[in-house]
Symmetry: C2
Subunit: 371 residues, 2 copies
């Protein structure tokens, strides 16, 4: 395999294309339009002057303590801040995790559909990867039966999931972790959409069930600041020093001003407001989209809806291109997320205001439903 034979991250290309028009409606962007807590802006202004040096490779201790406190408050687990490495976005955390956990010729597994960068980062590090097809019958989750007889060293799951918005409930997560521990499989839990969980659903951190899992999260979704490029990884104790060495060499440290922004972002009242906003948007978009498309799962968390578009086309990639070109509505085709019937699916993000989405829905209905 040539090193650079990795797929483009299609949504990034769509974003660029969509910006050519003034009146595009954006359902493609996995990026919050809400700003973070006003405290973050104050912190940036206040700390600007002292933010030009590197921090320790693992990140500012104050930030790691804030993160530990978050786990205490939200999940009632005690995490030693020494086990936390502040990374360059969750992207930086995946770069570390894949290197730390998987040796030569060992492989990593994730579901199909899933976040496209997983596969691509694995390819960059020449790690064989295995896609496990999932569908609505297991709520788009990986269950232990799917792993039987598979030789994998590492399993990566995300909950709430991108693009399906589904969540591992307590029992299914616990079962999967137990299976992994019993079979010598490292579990990486991508928890980036935690906090954005709706109605009666609840998210669980893998750390509630084991100290030997690797948990990744960051400030890009719930905390509304993807552009600061800060995430974190929580490692089992025996991997911390190796993680730190990798971080030193690959990144030196995460951006300093962004780390101060992170410290200020744990404004729990504001975070609750963020969730409320997304919940309203989800309700709106779900109710509208189900009049147009078949939807097999209501999104339990995150900010995406995974819709079946096969009543209009068996090639959702071309459909999305056509929709963007003809009515300037940007949506992400399923193919960005895997090969498991993804040409029948489209991902809608509810990351824009309801009024904005309304215009898009009107255009879609006019375009797709009118005879």
């Amino acid at each position: 395999m040539k090193r650079f034979e990795i797929d483009p991250f299609i949504v990034m290309d769509i974003i660029r294309e969509s910006r050519k028009y003034n009146d595009t409606i954006h359902f493609e962007v996995g990026e919050p339009d809400l700003r973070p807590s006003p405290k973050v802006i104050d912190a940036i202004k206040e700390k600007a002057v002292e933010s030009f040096g590197y921090t320790e490779s693992k990140g500012l201790l104050t930030l790691r303590e804030k993160i530990a406190e978050f786990y205490k408050k939200k999940y009632r687990v005690n995490i030693d801040p020494e086990r936390i490495i502040v990374t360059v976005g969750t992207s930086g955390a995946f770069n570390l995790a894949f290197n730390l956990l998987v040796e030569e010729k060992e492989s990593i597994a994730f579901s199909d559909p899933t976040y496209p960068c997983y596969k691509n980062i694995a390819k960059i590090f020449k790690i064989p990867n295995l896609s496990i097809p999932v569908d609505e019958s297991t709520n788009y989750q990986i269950v232990p039966e799917m792993l039987k007889k598979k030789k994998i060293k590492c399993l990566l799951i995300s909950s709430p999931a991108n693009p399906t918005g589904t969540i591992y409930d307590k029992k299914s997560l616990k079962n999967l972790i137990t299976y992994c521990e019993e079979n010598g499989i490292y579990l990486i839990s991508d928890e980036i959409y935690h906090g954005l969980v709706y109605e009666n659903f609840q998210e669980y951190s893998a750390l509630q069930f084991s100290d030997n899992v690797v948990v990744i999260n960051g400030f890009s979704k719930y905390f509304c600041m993807p552009g600061i490029r800060v995430g974190w990884i929580i490692l089992p104790q025996h991997l911390v020093r190796r993680g730190e060495i990798l971080q030193q060499n690959m990144f030196i440290s995460a951006p300093t001003i962004s780390q101060y922004a992170g410290i200020a972002a744990f404004d729990y009242e504001y975070l609750n407001y963020v969730k409320t906003v997304y919940e309203k948007r989800r309700d709106f978009l779900y109710n509208e989209l189900k009049e147009i498309f078949e939807i097999k799962t209501i999104p339990q968390g995150g900010f995406y809806i995974w819709v079946n578009s096969s009543r209009f086309s068996d090639d959702s990639f071309s459909l999305c291109r056509k929709i963007l070109k003809d009515i300037r509505v940007a949506i992400t085709p399923g193919i960005d997320f895997g090969k498991n019937k993804t040409n029948h699916y489209i991902r809608f993000a509810f990351t824009r205001k309801i009024d904005h989405m309304k215009t898009g829905i009107e255009r879609l209905k006019e375009y797709l439903l009118k005879p």
Copy 2:
């Protein structure tokens, strides 16, 4: 090779150790103590509110245009901003470059001594690497003769060099680039210390001699803001799209607020002041250190002095540890930079004020020279 069997970046550990004492004198830090232009701080405050989203993966166009303008002004070369990718520090640029240029089983070469992360990043990507021993006889530069009969796909040079402070003059750089082009070797030129060049010396960008080289630079040294974690890579046209795809997957984009800081940092009057400050520090430290150690090359650029410490010990690592412990003067042992007699060498950085360095020199003279 196990993926994580890479060396720690020793200077980072020393920095941490040195911070345990209140009165440590810092010669170890390759990090400017000067702040960037005041315009940068204004820009951060002004742009904070609009800096929470991602930018295009290649970076803000305005920043790429500023960078192109820098090449026009400083080196009189025209660079299409489309050939520039804004990276997460120069670390991010090396991650991209190594992946883009070197296929499986091909190798990359650099000098010994050199910046330790080169070798470590190569190891992370499982790229075989070849160290080419250099010494004062070629001004610590790689010359074409050293590459004869060596099977390498890529050569990475830095000028001004870390840790030796030496510079490729026009003729030697041109010769080396010609040799590489004739022999199918990609040349990566790390130009991070450009701007910090003293007396009658002058630095040349590899782009002045060829469009097929890969040039890496960033805001961490001359521009005085390592903590923002922004650098850039300039690629030959045919590698740009692959570079963009890698950037999307490994990093998404560089931190947004830091990119705005970068735009404001091209304050040429201020940059000239920065250089003047370092030149005075270099003169001071060089004159003092040559009374203690043997120094084979006066630093022509950068902010390091590479001194021979063998009159005191054949094990500069232990010597540095002892000096830090006994008199709280932090210096980086040669071993961080390679294996080529590096146990006889120590690297001093002149990144602190002259008064601060004076105290360190007094302690060193008392400790090393007094009978």
